[in-house]
Amino acid sequence: AAMPHVSRGERRFIEEGVRQNVRYDGRAVLDLRHLIVQNGVIEFCNGSTLVERVHTSAKVLVGVKVEAVDLRDESEGSELFDVTIDCTSVEAGEEDPSQRRFRDFSRRLEALVEEQLREAVGDGSILHVVPNRFAWSLAVDVIVLGTDGNMSDLVSLAVFGALADTVLPKSEQIETEDGPDFTIDTEVSTAQALPAALFDRLPIRVSLFKLCDTMVADACEKEEECATACLSALVNRNGELCSTHIDKGGAVPLTSLHGHLSNVCQIASELFKLLSSEFSAANSAR
């Protein structure tokens, strides 16, 4: 979708509406838009998820591929995940020929997804097949098929879903003359999910956007355009804050910060309940 142009009248309409707790699309200030989540949409990936927002053009497809790596070949400090963001579907509809906006957008999304995965993977020991010798490396490919505001939150949900859908081949550690090694069972029926401890640490992103003096959740494209600040936080399923920052060049009042962080944690808690029920139903069906 091309960058929305918000006229002065529209801006005033949006801001006055938020003051009266009625938003551009009729939601209350902390209401989220409905989501449709589909797992296993890409057959050749270890895990994949398609997430879309109902009645909007926002759609994100995430595929996860897993590869066994020898840690001796990896440089010190390298991470066991690699993220690529593809916005070409959206760029095609962009009027600006320089397309710098979407390059910056892709770069920013990549940094946000890496931040999310870093919290989950930590020092990498959780993905080790043979401790300090072989490990699983995750290649996460995010394809943004359509935008409609608050894409960072949608992408984080899609990444969570793809990782929940990811299966690893069953591995067994063996001893060889050259030292510890491992074998893989290629039967799909014996495949296992990622370690449960990873999901205890994997956070999702929740963002609040400042419109006038009110913070709204899950802003649509025009609301995001009018927002003067954005408080973005990564929250894990234990309700702990993993990371926060404030974007869009604005400021959040110190006196109300506690309330906003409380709202963020509450929204994250509701989302985790929905995601848990959604993915446990999908896993039992599989």
């Binding site: 440089s75 919290e119 234990n238 702990e240 926060t244 404030i246 959040v252």
Partner: protein, 162 residues
């Protein structure tokens, strides 16, 4: 090397987020303000020091600002808070850290960088500790600017008349 580049990119974004809210951008249409930060040594707290330094540099250069941006870093230990922790303390004793960039006059937070995971209450208490430290840093920044302005005034007063 890749890690250093990522660190520099993240630090650049953090400094931009923190100081952007303090600059009167509408006074500089069709302009680009470049802020270059050179970290000579980092023993923890590079982000807080960079933001404070960048804000002081902008004020010293005469760029119109809404406010100074003092920035403070607090580490959360197992039983207490560590104000301005060293690298060793961040890696060893600290369960997490909070870096707060504050617009002192309006009491607005221009950036809150939290490294966790942290419980909600611990995060709130750490923000309070950061606020107290930011107030102290703000006084030092104001004093430094006044001293700098006075020194310039004295040095130009010493010059012989044209």
């Amino acid at each position: 090397d890749k890690r250093r580049i990522k660190f520099e990119q993240n630090l650049s974004s953090a400094v931009l987020r923190a100081i952007q809210a303090s600059v009167r951008l509408e006074r500089f249409p069709k302009s680009l303000l470049e802020v270059h930060v050179l970290v000579l040594n980092d023993d923890g707290g590079a982000q807080a020091a960079s933001v404070t330094c960048a804000s002081l540099a902008l004020a010293n250069s005469g760029v119109e600002l809404f406010d100074l941006v003092p920035c403070a870093n607090v580490g959360i230990g197992s039983s207490s808070f560590i104000v301005d922790p060293t690298q060793e303390q961040l890696k060893g004793d600290c369960l997490g850290s909070v870096t707060l960039a504050l617009l002192s006059a309006s009491e607005g937070i221009s950036d809150l960088a939290l490294n966790g995971p942290l419980g909600f209450d611990a995060a709130g208490q750490a923000v309070t500790a950061c606020y107290a430290e930011c107030a102290r840093v703000h006084k030092l920044m104001s004093k430094a600017l006044v001293h700098s302005a006075s020194a310039e005034h004295i040095s130009t007063a010493d010059l012989p008349p044209a």
